[in-house]
Symmetry: C2
Subunit: 137 residues, 2 copies
DNA sequence: TATAAAATCTATCAATTTGGTAGGGTTTTG
DNA sequence: CAAAACCCTACCAAATTGATAGATTTTATA
């Protein structure tokens, strides 16, 4: 399941993607528009900025805006940024790999192969869902 | 990600599936064989029993055994039993549906449609991974 | 029938994660 | 120069997770 953070991030990105080109959105505007607690949203927007999905302008009339095309922001990326691995176990993960400590031998654990198949399928599907694809319905 | 419970459950089922037909496995035997903390495994086996994947015999020479074919136990079922919904949000779930409370209108939330696509793909993949498929490698 | 072995039940617990809130500080700009 | 916004750090309560502990019930058999 997605965390609230990831869900809010997607909704915030959706909000930004729906604005006119060159429009800068204030935090409070996004919070109201997407129904997200403002202070919580602040942290999320900072994460999105660190992830180079959005950028910001400070000072009066400042705010946030997309710096990545809505066609290029995928569910997979947002999931990884906020919720980490897409695979079901760390030993089957591409980006968050860790060895299974409870597997007796150092060989592959019995689950790994199957979970890598799941990961590939899920990843493929998640890379197909973009912010743009969520808008046009 | 899978919880330890779900992971241990899969490993325990794998262990049981690899035994001879009619063999009854004691908890301690499964715990040692699959490297699972014994007391924790006890709870998991009870859950698997309630889920009708295994049955048990009490008393001396008792233990656990599969009552569902290893070809019919899927990753999807184990995920649902221990970790709940497969969908990324409750509003996109088949078995654990709940309305999005933070969506302003009562209509579908903007994420729902995309997440249902992911759910379908993931579910299909997870239903293809059975205990039997994990054994033959 | 006593006893040993095994499942089963009920409670508890520490650590971590989650979903926030609070309160400032810093930077920019009218 | 002050307002408006970003930015940062800390804290907090509730829930979840990953167990452990101990008592009880059931069963086979010596």
């Amino acid at each position: 399941m997605l965390s609230h953070k990831a869900k809010y991030a997607l909704k915030a990105l959706l909000y930004l993607a729906e604005q006119d080109e060159d429009h800068i959105s204030k935090t409070i505007e996004i919070a109201d528009g997407a129904n997200i607690p403002k202070k919580f949203l602040e942290q999320i927007l900072l994460d999105l900025k660190r992830g180079r999905f959005v950028s910001s302008k400070q000072g009066k009339f400042g705010g946030y805006y997309l710096i990545k095309s809505k066609n290029d922001i995928t569910l997979a990326e947002i999931h990884r940024l906020f919720d980490g691995a897409i695979a079901l176990l760390p030993c089957a993960s591409l980006n968050f790999y860790e060895r299974c400590l409870d597997c007796k031998t150092e060989e592959e654990c019995s689950l790994r192969h199957g979970l890598m198949i799941i990961r590939d399928e899920t990843l493929k599907a998640m890379q197909n869902i973009t912010i743009a694809s969520l808008i046009k319905k």
